[in-house]
């Protein structure tokens, strides 16, 4: 009977009910006590407490709303900045922002204790450009970078018919723009001495560059011809040159130069994967220079023949001697003088250069071959220059010796370009003094032996020049 009672459902319910009652009793008691206390508080000062709580909550809501507004503004700012931004700009703008940076007038201020926060992966990818479907341009900011180089001088020589004079040299506005990660626009807008005593502007370089990798870069437009070293290394800036002017062989066309200094066309350049040898190449094709006397030598819009000029420049920058560059270049073109036979031109050049931060030693040799069609004879003009300088503090003494020798009856230099070459050689000595990182003064003396000249019978010319050169 007892066993029956114990096994019955009623007894189980009784036990469960007892357990609930025993465990729930203290809880019920607590709730009852709290309710009583709360009722007592409400009856005493409940109105004041509610008022204070509401005020606190309102203040908190206001703070949160202000913070939210700030965050929304920042997000909008970042979204604007992110549109078309490059990788590094994105990283710079967003990373500090996420790390609690404030922009100030003097740059960025950073809470150094805050941990760095990663950009979202899609932002980083787009910024890096690795998966970007197209090259994007940031319309929200100017993309032009402008640097300038200029010079101003005073000089004179003992050449008959000349006087001492002050002179404005070239003012070169170097304007570049990183259009996108791979495209770049480059130009040299140069103001220089023009016809007569006038000053005129000249777009000496206008290039659209596409850099695929270190091994392949293409450029389209007008550029310095890839002949030798000097033409590409110093371009139109007297600031980078230690002496006051260029060597005779590498003067520009409009300054009495004998080489085609500029070309309108296309070029490919880059490194050749040769390890420690550090080989580089430049291959160029373009209009070449005009063959008509008095015409603008650089053919910008039309070419006077269908034969295109071609230039190749191969050089090495070996690892074992930083600053050393050894190279070879070749240029081939056909000149078409009106009412005369075409003249083939081949320019061969070799150079060895050592450039360190305080020391510079430049050596170049050149052979210019002109072969008129129908004649068995080739006119060879040879030349070289060597230039050495060493900087001591702000002073840089330098020395240059140059030589050029053109044959009699040379068919191009004087007949077409009115440049008297003949035989000329001689030394130049000078001193450059750098007042600051951007302003320098140069004093140079040149002595040139002259033979077989078409324009003068003087056996030699001495010249003294003072130049102020600057970058801005």
């Amino acid at each position: 009977m007892r066993m029956n009672i114990l096994r019955s459902k009623n007894f189980s319910f009784l036990l469960i009910g007892w357990a609930i009652a025993m465990r729930g009793f203290p809880l019920m008691l607590g709730i009852l006590a709290n309710t009583t206390i709360l009722q007592a508080q409400a009856s005493n000062g409940g109105a004041d407490v509610d008022k204070q709580t509401i005020q606190l909550l309102l203040r908190r809501i206001e703070q949160l709303e202000a913070a939210d507004k700030q965050l929304q503004q920042r997000v909008a700012q970042l979204e604007t900045a992110q549109h078309g931004i490059t990788l590094e700009a994105a990283a710079e703008a967003l990373a500090p922002a996420s790390a609690g940076i404030e922009k100030s007038q003097h740059g960025l201020r950073l809470d150094s204790t805050s941990p760095p926060v990663a950009l979202p992966s899609e932002t980083r990818t787009a910024a890096q450009g690795e998966a970007a479907p197209s090259e994007r341009v940031d319309d929200g900011k100017t993309l032009l970078n402008i640097r300038g180089f200029g010079d101003y001088g005073f000089g004179g020589s003992n050449q008959k018919g000349t006087t001492t004079a002050f002179s404005l040299g070239q003012v070169d506005f170097f304007i570049s723009s990183n259009i996108s990660e791979r495209f770049r626009f480059v130009s040299d807008l140069v103001f220089e001495k023009g016809v007569g005593n006038a000053y005129e502007e000249d777009l000496e370089r206008v290039l659209l560059e596409y850099r695929y990798s270190d091994y392949f870069k293409m450029a389209f437009g007008r550029d310095q011809t890839a002949i030798g070293y000097y033409n590409l290394a110093f371009r139109h800036s007297s600031w980078f040159q230690i002496p006051t002017g260029r060597p005779f062989l590498f003067r520009f066309e409009d300054e009495g130069g004998i080489l085609p200094g500029h070309i309108v066309g296309a070029s490919a350049s880059g490194q050749i994967p040769t390890g420690k040898l550090g080989l580089h190449y430049i291959a160029e094709v373009g209009n070449g220079r005009a063959g008509a006397a008095g015409a603008a030598p650089v053919q910008n819009f039309v070419d006077d023949n269908t034969h295109k000029a071609v230039a190749v420049n191969i050089f090495a920058r070996p690892d074992f001697l930083p600053g050393l560059q050894v190279g070879f270049s070749a240029y081939r073109d056909v000149l078409s003088p009106p009412n005369a036979a075409k003249i083939g031109e081949t320019d061969l050049n070799t150079y060895i250069v050592l450039e360190r931060s305080r020391f510079e030693w430049l050596n170049e040799a050149l052979l210019i071959r002109h072969t008129p069609e129908g004649l068995p004879h080739t006119f060879n003009t040879s030349g070289f220059y060597t230039q050495i300088s060493q900087r001591f503090g702000s002073y840089t003494p330098y020395f240059r010796y140059q030589y050029a020798n053109a044959p009699n009856n040379e068919p191009v230099f004087f007949p077409i370009y009115q440049v008297s070459v003949g035989l000329q050689h001689g030394p130049s000595v000078g001193l450059r003094y750098d007042f600051s990182e951007s302003v320098a003064a140069k004093l140079q003396y040149d002595y040139t032996y002259l033979r077989r000249q078409q324009t003068t019978t003087q056996p030699s010319i001495s010249q003294l020049a003072l130049q102020l050169s600057f970058a801005f």
Partner: protein
């Protein structure tokens, strides 16, 4: 006794995991002091953690800093970062990597961008902290820090097979932290 050991072990493990990883610092070079204010300390070359590069020769590092290499092997564009003038770290880089004076360095990049040899000049950042954060976020960035300023957000690469903590590591800072 066993219980006490277990409790102590648990406490140590908890403390270890509780510490955020970015607070772990690279060990100081045995030959150089380890605190930030020590005047002589190793200069760590750092890259973004996603960069697969582990080791560079000093020659290659020089080429990268000179702007002669514009892409990493993984295709990312190289962005060289420099600290502003006045930092001993920058002086060490100019002396040991560029082998140039301050004005020579400026002239090099002015001329390089002018001639087209160098596509982009180094990015100058105003403090080691900003530089570290920049490199953390820019996959192609490379820069440098005093070894005691390095944390786990960036990757230290070996130079000629040596880490900054190695005795014969070549890049050393001579000057106190700013």
């Amino acid at each position: 006794m066993r219980h006490i050991c277990a409790v102590l072990t648990s406490l140590a493990a908890a403390l270890l995991f509780a510490l955020p990883p970015q607070h772990k610092t690279v060990e100081a070079a045995p030959g150089s002091p380890g605190t930030r204010n020590d005047p002589r300390q190793a200069l760590a070359i750092i890259v973004n953690r996603s960069n697969p590069i582990e080791n560079l020769s000093l020659t290659d590092l020089r080429k990268i800093f000179l702007g002669e290499r514009s892409r990493w092997p993984n295709g990312h564009r190289v962005t060289v970062t420099m600290m502003e003038s006045g930092y001993a770290e920058r002086d060490a880089v100019l002396r040991d990597i560029y082998r140039m004076t301050e004005s020579g360095y400026r002239n090099h990049f002015l001329k390089g961008t002018y001639t087209g040899d160098i596509p982009v000049s180094p990015k100058t950042l105003s403090s080691p902290q900003i530089l570290r954060k920049f490199i953390f976020n820019a996959p192609g960035a490379i820069g440098y820090l005093r070894a005691s300023d390095v944390d786990a957000t960036v990757k230290v690469i070996r130079i000629d097979g040596r880490f900054p903590s190695d005795l014969d590591y070549k890049l050393q800072i001579e000057g106190p932290a700013k």
